[in-house]
Structure formats: structure tokens, C-alpha cells
Symmetry: C2
């Protein structure tokens, strides 16, 4: 049975998952890299992105990496919102933009990008991006088919995750709360009153200062 | 040197410290007791309120009580917002309301209640409530004098805590994040962007499901 899983969704103390003013130069807006500081030192990030070198070593293997490493286990496809693919809004002005990730995106699987403005597939390395205008349940059905029996990762951003939570389609969600008050941006929690009734919620504090929270859907 | 300390300030995952629709029957509005569930079993609560009996025993002494017990250590006075004293708004219609706590309030110290509508002092047991219309720094000066060299507790609610944080008067703050999405009520975090620059922030998860967070002002 395919599960829909959220991993490494980083939020601030005040619940913002991305900052205000996203641009090509500032993918997280005014948040900068403050929500992801816990992730970059991990072995999962360093080795997954090929950043391994003498300066950074091979990455940490502590609490943060234990959670980060689950990101890729048993995943056969990803669903992401258009905002994660790029900061553009409205119709595509050109098709030159192929995402933030260069020639070898770290997904290594099919990726369904949800957008009202469909465009042809893009294949980069082992990753194929497919652009579709679908409601959550149909997007999940497509991604599950592409995943070939493995799980589907719901990659964000916050607006997309919120829509799938509201549709009660999320099986597991891993949040990472960073000790930062962003003040503005896109909130994860809006419109989710009573979410705790659908999930068991467990928390672990990491020496890095973040708190990992795992939401597991009650069966 | 008198410190201003916040203890046991319970908030939801989405940052609400109290619910919507506060009344005499529902002191926390629609939040009910959901934010305080971790506190009631503790020895600090059970013994401090005289609820100790055969049914509840003498209270738990685990992680939650370790934090709760700090509430009373070295405190000589409390500051609270008028909303914590009662749900009324505007001028007092009568002076019969003397707070939620009966003849023996658990403060055992002077309490400065901040209100635009001053009224005569009330003494109940070892607690005297003094009603003043003062800005944060002056309220702290008064409470520090009443505390006689001990620390001052900032007792809430969220609007009051936020005002003292904005005035950079808080030395320590203990938050308790409950795994609940309230959706509406009074937020703690509004207007506090960048608060992390003033504090060291440490988190510990409790087996009860809450996360304790300690903010310590950088010297």
C-alpha cells in the first residue's frame, strides 16, 4: 500500500515554512537559509548533493541525519507544488527554467509538479518532472502509479502540504521546528484546526537546537 | 538583580496561547484545558493547589514536573494581564469578581494586575492583587520593589508577555508546546520577528508529548 510521506518540512517557531519575498536569488525569501541550517551538515545532504569534499567531510550522523536519512527510503515518486519548482507565478514566460537543482536533481524519481499552467515534461539525470493541474487525490493517484509500489514523497511547499492534509491524504509528516521567529511568510498551520485528532504526534529535540516532530496517521 | 521570568506558558503547535471565546465558564475559550493537560498531573500543580487526595495521589515527578517546579522558586511578585485575572473587558461593572482562584490563590505574593481600569487592592490569603495602568518598564519597577530582592514572574496572558518581550524586559521564558492545532485565539508570536537574536533557546521533549522550550536572554 503506497503511503504519502512528508519529510524535512522546516518551520519556524511561529509556523512559517517559507519567508516573504521569494525570488530566484532568495528561494526562501527573507527566511534565507535559517530554517535549513540543521540539514546542510548532515551526511544525507552532503552525500546526496555531491557536496562531499575535504572542507565539509562526509557529513554528520547524529540525530538530525537519522531523520534526514528517511527522506529517500522506499520513495518512488515526489509531488511538489509549483512554488517549490520555481518562484514564478502565472503562465510560464519561457521554458528555460528547469528548477533549482542543476543537471542531476536529488530526486532520482518521477516528480509531479502541481501547477495550473501545464508544460512538457523535463528529464534531468534520473529525475523527470511532469507538470499537471490536478486536485490532491488525483495527483496522488498519478504519483502512486509512477512510484511503482513504493511510497510517494510530498515535497512541499507549505501551501501544497496544507492542501493534502486538508484532504486527509497524508500518512506521515516529519516537521523540523527551528528556533527562529520569522514573523512573515507562508504559514503551514492555517485552516488545520484539530489536526491532532488525525495523527499521533511524537517530538524529539536535537542537540542542533531544532525539534523533530513525527505525525503518524491513526489507522 | 531581579529577573523577570515567564513559566509554564502553554502554546499550541500553531502558536496560540489561549483560545477564542473566553467566558467565566471557559477561561481558555475553545481551547478548553487542552494546553494544560501536561500540567495537572504534576506534583507542583497537585500539591500547590491542595488537590492532593487518594484519587490523584501526590502528583508526578517526571520531566514535566521538573519544569513546573521552577515556577515558584525565588519568586517575590507576579505581573499579569487583566485577561488572566478575569474575562471581563472595559470598566469593572462591579467589584465582586476576585479572580479564578478562591480564598487561597496559588501566588502567595503580591500580584500586579495590568489594566486600564484601576480598582482597590484585593487581599486573599497570602496574595494581594494590585490593579495598575502602567507601561511594561514601570510595571516591572513596581513589581521588583514588591518582590523585595527576589525575581518577578510574568504570568501571562500572551498579549502581556508579548508586550514585555517587545520592550526587551524578559530574562527567561519557559514555553510548553502542546501537540494541538488550535486554529484560532490569541497568538504569542505576532510582532516578535527576530526574537531569537535576543535569546539562547533550548528544547526538551517530554514523554507526555509536550516540548519544553527555555529562552534565556543573552547577556
Amino acid at each position: 500500500m503506497t503511503k504519502l510521506r512528508v519529510h524535512n518540512l522546516a518551520i519556524s517557531l511561529d509556523g512559517f515554512a517559507t519567508g516573504e519575498g521569494r525570488t530566484f536569488e532568495a528561494p526562501f525569501g527573507h527566511a534565507g537559509m535559517r530554517l535549513m541550517g540543521w540539514f546542510f551538515p548532515t551526511r544525507t545532504f552532503v552525500q546526496g548533493t555531491g557536496h562531499e569534499d575535504e572542507a565539509v567531510g562526509s557529513g554528520t550522523t547524529g540525530v538530525d541525519d537519522a531523520f534526514a536519512a528517511r527522506t529517500h527510503h522506499g520513495i518512488g515518486a515526489e509531488i511538489m507544488g509549483r512554488g517549490k519548482f520555481g518562484p514564478q507565478e502565472g503562465p510560464w514566460e519561457d521554458l528555460e527554467w528547469e528548477g533549482w537543482w542543476g543537471d542531476e536533481p536529488p530526486f532520482h524519481s518521477p516528480v509531479v509538479v502541481l501547477t495550473h499552467h501545464e508544460r512538457p515534461d523535463i528529464t534531468l539525470g534520473e529525475t523527470t518532472f511532469t507538470f499537471r493541474d490536478l486536485p490532491p487525490a488525483e495527483a496522488l493517484a498519478l504519483a502512486a502509479e509512477l512510484a511503482g509500489g513504493l511510497d510517494v514523497r510530498l515535497g512541499g511547499g507549505p501551501t501544497t502540504v496544507r492542501e493534502f492534509l486538508q484532504a486527509d491524504l497524508v500518512d506521515e509528516m516529519h516537521l523540523v521546528v527551528s528556533p527562529v521567529v520569522l514573523g512573515r511568510g507562508v504559514r503551514l498551520w492555517d485552516g488545520l484546526e484539530g489536526l491532532e485528532e488525525q495523527f499521533d504526534i511524537a517530538s524529539t529535540a536535537s542537540p542542533s537546537g531544532v525539534v523533530h516532530q513525527i505525525f503518524t496517521r491513526r489507522s
